[in-house]
């Protein structure tokens, strides 16, 4: 019999368990094993004193579903737990999560440094819409780590990027860019939609705010729009005078200083108290519940997404109709080594590839695949394809397309979890159609 002393180990729940349970206790909800859908706009106050205390953040609780809702709250806690964050705020879409993050951080006259490789809608927000609010942005290519440093100005309030750029799969060197941000006393905000916390936990690599479009892999089913911002809790808002709306008494809550009172959850508290109150991009409880159903199987799905993606990378790399393939698992991908470090559980299921024959071939491919769905979404359990130059990024001019790393032959593929042979067979149909016009024109 061994007399070896048992090592002390924390018994906090692990990722797969948190995916199913975090944020919810059945015995506090009539024993309901499933999270109830609180389909209500508002909540009874015990008395006038209770109402005043809730409005003044003296007590926790719900007032009005634009600000918070119990079903949405379960989702928020669940995602915060999976990310290793202190707090989260769910929104009606990923775009509203980005907008709320920026509006919580910035004021008119402020500046942001932003990765140039972003979803087209996000590019337009930073390039065209935020300047209307007096917030200017400098775009830097995601691999130009030094460029992020050079772009920081006196009024810069943060750095924003997608961990893996949409749609070109360029990877931000998150640890180095986080250090640049922190040396300048500003936070790093990362859109990690493509990864989900199963593939990467950005807080472990220096990010301060993580944003997801929950519409994508987190939900998986493609039925519901949702977004979320998650706070890491490490950023010190009081280290300098750059963030007065976080550190100084706030008129809107009787002189409350969010940083002093809420510390590691200050950003989320402000985003909710001010942002949800004033802008109101709240998530419906039904959609929150739908997303929770998806998160329950997140790790199971992500494993299959990643294994199917790696099979597709091999298939496409050896295909006569394919000019190039971009995926971080490819050894000659410029960020292959960085991907191994940042994405140890898999490199994700987004593939960009160039089809021989350029734009016409791309259009023919898209128009002829039968199983793969042609639509403007990613991260569905079903395989999705789109031709970015004519779809998601079609509002960009030629120069902006080039700066965003897009080419006319690029097809964006979001690999689903169908049987891999069926996906390949479908692509063969598309490739045959794509070759046809060229064969005809060569005759």
């Amino acid at each position: 019999m061994s007399d070896k002393k048992k090592e002390l180990k924390p018994n906090t729940y692990k990722f797969d368990t948190l995916s199913l349970h975090a944020g919810y206790q059945p015995h506090k909800n009539a024993g309901s094993r499933q999270v109830p859908i609180y389909q209500t706009t508002s909540y009874l106050f015990d008395d006038v004193d209770h109402a005043a205390a809730l409005f003044n953040l003296e007590r926790g609780g719900h007032i009005y579903s634009r600000i918070s809702n119990p079903t949405v709250g379960v989702l928020e806690e669940r995602v915060a737990s999976l990310e290793g964050g202190t707090a989260a705020l769910a929104t009606s879409s990923g775009m509203s999560a980005i907008f709320l993050t920026v509006m919580t951080l910035c004021e008119a006259g402020d500046h942001l440094v932003v990765s140039s490789q972003l979803y087209g809608g996000t590019v337009n927000l930073f390039r065209l819409t935020l300047p209307k609010f007096g917030i200017k942005c400098t775009f830097v290519k995601p691999r130009d780590t030094e460029g992020f440093k050079k772009a920081i100005q006196k009024n810069t309030k943060g750095i924003f990027g997608e961990l893996v750029g949409n749609p070109g799969n360029e990877i931000m060197n998150m640890p180095e860019i986080a250090k640049i941000a922190h040396d300048a006393g500003i936070p790093l905000m990362v859109d990690a939609t493509y990864q989900t916390p199963y593939l990467c936990k950005p807080f472990e690599h220096g990010a301060d705010i993580v944003i997801h479009s929950l519409t994508k892999w987190m939900a998986g089913h493609g039925s519901s729009m949702a977004g979320i911002l998650v706070e890491g809790g490490k950023f010190d808002w009081m280290q300098n005078d750059k963030f007065p709306t976080m550190t100084k008494p706030y008129e809107g809550y009787h002189g409350l200083s969010f940083a002093e009172e809420f510390g590691p959850t200050a950003f989320t508290m402000k985003a909710r108290a001010e942002g949800m109150r004033d802008f109101g991009p709240c998530l419906s409880p039904q959609n929150a519940w739908n997303v929770l159903q998806g998160i329950e199987t997140l790790s199971v799905r992500m494993k299959k997404h990643c294994s199917n993606a790696e099979e597709m990378v091999k298939y496409l790399s050896n295909h006569e109709s394919v000019a190039w393939v971009s995926h971080p698992s490819v050894p000659d991908h410029p960020d292959h080594e960085l991907a191994k470090k940042l994405l140890p559980n898999g490199r994700g299921s987004m593939i960009a590839f160039g089809i021989k024959g350029g734009k016409d071939a791309g259009v023919a491919f898209i128009n002829n695949v039968k199983l793969a769905s042609h639509l403007a979404n990613v991260g569905d359990t079903r395989t999705l394809v789109i031709h970015p130059a004519s779809g998601t990024h079609s509002q960009m001019d030629e120069a902006t397309l080039k700066f965003a790393g897009l080419s006319h032959d690029m097809i964006r593929l979001s690999v689903g979890i169908e049987d891999i042979d069926d996906i390949k067979n479908d692509f063969e149909i598309g490739f045959r159609a794509a070759r046809k016009p060229r064969l005809v024109s060569n005759q």
């Binding site: 924390p10 975090a22 926790g60 806690e77 705020l89 809790g233 002189g255």
Partner: protein, 272 residues
């Protein structure tokens, strides 16, 4: 607000209201390695209802400067110095965990100054697990992870924070890691382990006293809290089911309701 005690700058949250010398004073004392932020769901209420709420950061913790105090006795004297520093002659004390040892000792030492004593997750002694103590003194983050595991009940492990969207264990972890672990948690754990006067100090306490205990508290089990309370004349005890050591956050509403009734009855607010 910031003020000086023994030459060092002290930070104390006032619950979002300016300090007003006319109002009665409540001082909230946090647990090992933590900060004033653990009290946010109690302090704001009292601050807006006729009291000065002062949730202090102990020296070397949170936003307070200086080095961590090395004994519970020194911390008890420091709390008395805080009362003097803010220009008050008396105060009501509220402590959590290690803060209970500090406030019990302070009340025993300065019986004329302390008007009520509220203890949450308290005990007369808090002997530390030697391995946990060693990890904290060696700056090992595992000490924080273990503390967060043991300190939280179902609300911490599963979720259900009273403030929507906040996640207990990760928030607590960030608070405990906000300063160097060995200089805060390590020093605090050693101070708790060394302190032997809790039961004797409790016997001398004559002011109204409340103990809030929790059935799932692994750090200071209910029986230890009851033992301490039994030594204080007329001590009230409130026990919360399905709750861990962090009851001031896990069951913040219940704690506030009980605390509000106890303090307003025994140490009335300045009427508006």
């Amino acid at each position: 607000m910031k003020f000086k005690v023994n030459g060092h700058e002290v930070f104390a949250s006032t619950g979002g209201r300016p300090f007003d010398k006319k109002k009665p004073l409540i001082i909230f004392v946090h647990g090992s390695g933590l900060t004033h932020m653990t009290w946010v769901l109690q302090t704001r209420y009292f601050a807006f209802h006729g009291y000065n709420s002062l949730a202090v950061d102990l020296p070397g913790h949170g936003l307070s400067s200086g080095e961590s105090l090395k004994s519970i006795e020194e911390m008890a004297d420091w709390v008395n110095d805080v009362i003097d520093a803010v220009g008050h002659k008396e105060a009501s004390l509220v402590g959590h965990s290690q803060g209970c040892l500090v406030t019990v000792e302070c009340t025993s030492r300065y019986p004329n100054k302390i008007k009520t004593l509220s203890l949450m997750g308290g005990a007369g002694a808090i002997p530390m697990n030697p391995e946990l103590l060693s990890l904290a003194e060696n700056n090992d983050p595992k000490a924080v992870d273990l503390m967060m595991d043991w300190a939280h009940g179902p609300a911490g492990h599963f979720g259900g924070h009273p403030v929507p969207g906040l996640y207990h264990i990760n928030t607590g972890t960030m608070l405990a890691k906000s300063r160097t672990i060995q200089n805060t948690l390590g020093v605090d754990f050693r101070a708790c382990d060394n302190y032997k006067n809790g039961f004797e100090a409790a016997k001398t306490i004559k002011c109204p006293t409340l103990s809030i205990l929790a059935t799932d508290d692994k750090m200071c089990p209910v029986k230890e809290g009851k033992k301490l309370a039994s030594l204080i004349d007329g001590s009230q005890v409130d026990i919360i089911d399905n709750c861990g050591h962090m009851m001031l956050l896990e069951e913040a509403d219940r704690v506030l309701t009980v605390l509000k009734k106890f303090i307003t009855t025994n140490y009335p607010p300045l009427s508006s």
